[in-house]
């Protein structure tokens, strides 16, 4: 199966044109074709959420999409949320609250929560718990992640 497709996609504000196989997963395209390895792959079943990116600003599992379905759309990955010298308030909150340990699931949480906090800038505890229920973390037990979100909401409120 060697047919290829002329993909045009915007990632983190930069437009890319690439020839890709139709069956190439979006997660693999981002990680290996574009070298944006911040998006991680945990299951390829759409369960764990580590691969979550923002697809036209909405959270989506990049392991369950083909790169070609993102043709003409814009994608935001964790690399587009902040940088080492300029962490976003959410990223800074994760650091302060110890909301990450191994960091593998973290990019998926960050993209999911960036979209969530945009729509819910002042969430209740229950709303936060539900918002992160689709992302699996094996290290933190979620408590410090919850703390990080509350902190981020506070920061944005100020």
């Amino acid at each position: 199966m060697n047919n290829s497709f002329n993909l045009s996609i915007t990632v983190n504000g930069i437009q890319y044109e690439r020839e890709v196989e139709p069956r190439l997963l979006l997660s693999d395209f981002l990680r290996h074709d574009l070298g944006l390895t911040g998006t991680h792959v945990g299951c390829e079943h759409g369960v764990c959420g580590a691969c979550t990116i923002l697809f036209d600003d909405e959270p989506a599992r990049s392991c369950l999409m083909f790169a070609v379905t993102a043709h003409g759309h814009h994608v935001t990955t964790v690399e587009g949320l902040g940088s080492i010298d300029h962490l976003s308030p959410l990223q800074e909150s994760f650091r302060e609250a110890h909301g990450l340990q191994c960091g593998f699931c973290t990019p998926g949480f960050l993209t999911t929560l960036t979209a969530f906090l945009k729509e819910n800038p002042d969430p209740s505890e229950d709303e936060i718990r539900e918002a992160i229920s689709g992302n699996l973390c094996r290290c933190t037990g979620y408590q410090h992640i919850m703390d990080a979100v509350k902190l981020a909401a506070e920061k944005s409120g100020n």
């Binding site: 060697n2 196989e21 069956r23 190439l24 990680r31 290996h32 070298g35 944006l36 390895t37 911040g38 998006t39 991680h40 792959v41 945990g42 299951c43 390829e44 079943h45 369960v47 764990c48 580590a50 990955t77 964790v78 690399e79 949320l81 902040g82 940088s83 080492i84 962490l87 990223q91 994760f94 650091r95 302060e96 110890h98 990450l100 340990q101 191994c102 960091g103 593998f104 699931c105 973290t106 990019p107 960050l110 505890e125 718990r129 539900e130 992160i132 229920s133 689709g134 992302n135 699996l136 973390c137 094996r138 290290c139 933190t140 037990g141 979620y142 408590q143 410090h144 992640i145 919850m146």
Partner: protein
Amino acid sequence: MTKHFIGERIKRNEDPRLLTGQALFVDDVEIPGMLHAAFKRSDYAHARILSIDVSTARERPGVVAIFTAQDMGEDWMPGPPLVSPPPTVKDVTFHSRRQAPLVKDIVRHAGETVAVVIAENRYIAEDAVEDILVEYEPLPVVTDLEQALAPDSPKVHDDLDSNLAAHMYQQKGDYESAKARADTIIKRRFYIDRGAAVAMENRGIIANWDEKSKQLTMWDTTQAPIPIRNGTAARLGLSDSQVRVIAPFVGGGFGPKIMMFYPEEMLLPWASKKLCRPIKWIEDRRENFYATTSERQQLHDVEMALTRDGHILGLKDDFLHDTGAFDPYGLTIPLNTQSHLMGSYVIENFSSNCTAVFTNKPIVTPVRGAGRQQGIFIIERMLDIACKELGIDPLEIRRKNFIPPDAFPYHNVIIDQAFSELIFDSGNYKAVFKKTLQMIDYERFVKEEQPRLRSKGKLVGIAIVPFIETTGVGPYEGARVQIETSGKVNVSTGYGTQGQGHFTSFAQIVSEQLGVAVKDVHIITGDTAEFHWGTGSFASRGAVVVGNAVHAAASSVRKKVLKQASKVLATPEDELELEDGLVRVADIPAKSISLGELAALANPLRGAVEPGTEPGLEATDYFGPQSGTTASGCHAMILEVDPETMMVDIKRYAVVEDCGKVLNPLIVEGQVHGGVSMGLGNAFYEKLQFDENGQILNASLADYLIVTSFEMPPHIETGHFETLSPLNKLGTKGVGEAGAIPVPALFAQALENAFQGRDLEILETPLSPNRLFELLQESRTTKEKSQ
């Protein structure tokens, strides 16, 4: 006045990289010309390979090579034994059988590697795997432990007389005489089943043999880079100096990543050397369930001898332990189980027969807890059962039997996983228990809230379970600390990191000695080019063993700093202090020199040095404890069960943790929370389901349910208690596995408490809503029958 860093809630050095997608994990590595591997795995759990036809696969465009065991010729060799049976236990029987890079004749568990495809990309490699035709002769499968020991059972290794992998007997005192004088004997059979570690990052290996420089570089998600380096060099006939193993950021370990010389780990470096190309293999999630080790199946026949008023006179436990198809990891898990069967209690008479059994299932090696859960589950369940039979309060029976605080070091006589006597170095179990009771408001709940809720028909239960945890075992670890001319400090150790915060906690230890900001201490872990000696991350030993090596090295550097600064500043050493990256005279702060300047002075480019001087401000030190330290703790929980769905809602959860000196409370809390989430999974949501054909029925995250934010308690309250360890200078103990250890026992106690008056007796773990329902049906029937 010098600042303190140990014990502070310091933000982690490593977080900015991890938060912005700038941290390197194994699959992030791209090398020009890199090829990709995919494995053909057996679907059968037990079968003879009759033929392997790779002809079609070889024709597929983009396929570079395909290898079977035959193609490896004389290079084909099973993995080395990783842990020997305990030399200090008498009369141990041990049949060592290890996994192979590719199966030669007989497949012994589903998922074993039969062939490997090396191709231009993973997609093509997987296509080619489908092209490979393997003809199998299926053989009868054995998965059940008792059946495996029956005389007519199919044999996993037909060169052995049976499926007995090992036998080990340990004793303390004289159980039979204790039994003879007991007022009550309680006998039960317990069944504990398998769970998986499910780190979010699956395993991955890149092997890059460069023919021109004759160097092999490997990136590996291993918890043990140095042993992998040493063993790989040996297997390939190379010198250690020709092999570099890098474990970069690793997305969770939890035990299975310290299993070493997995088939893929043996195959990839060999293939890379053969093809002179870099080759990458990343495990997918389905493979992970079959190809990565898991743990925990055991069957225990337990007997406890007690006096009428609840003193434990003796404990006997004969158990079967599932080791899977091979036993590379020795008897570590059963030794841990035996070491934890006596729990936190004075038990003067103990007898335990362990029989390890081969089955046609994936290999068993430690998963967070590593056999300790089983021990604690049994002792705490037996005490709960004893108090029902004797009519004693569950708190009282524990208080009566706790090892008292003045009895340390407490000698438990039997041998532990470090092959030395099980000695508890320090602890105060009664005080930790009391603190936990206060935190959960036990009395008020039992006297007021619970009766009130029950009168409304609510099924609410409360439980409290104390535990001990052996940690910080040897053999040793090392660290090198060096002050650079920039004034920043470089630290290397052979240890690995999988999220435990080493880049911060180890830095805090250095900062404490050298007065440098934590952010200016750069820690390197997991790279064999940076440090040559070490054994790996296991048994909750990082803080203790590496921490103390770092402390020793930093202290040595501090001595060098003071000696040199004393000369430069013409001031006696005891009038100097180290703070903010400077050495200064205590009462004359203007008289100072920066550590960076001192480092430069310590490494002159010209001139002569004094005899016996070492260049720079650097020191390497090792720490090798004689025995491990014993951490302890206590968990308490209040839960409510929905009578129709059997789903559980945890209302309150409290933990008191005694891990000796706490290096960073944020990190310790994180470890506890994560441990509890795994413990909850082990107790009520996770079970690796094998069918009678050795197939895993729930090999995906959609079916193997790990805990989400919904299953966690609303808030885990953590309390600390510190009994310093006398075994190391920092006084610290391990905590990595603690959160997971008591949870199955806690759950069982809480559920029985919630269903009080229904004769529910829980003798197994893991449970599930379905299983709880079944047990209740059985118990109701029994009660009705007895009426």
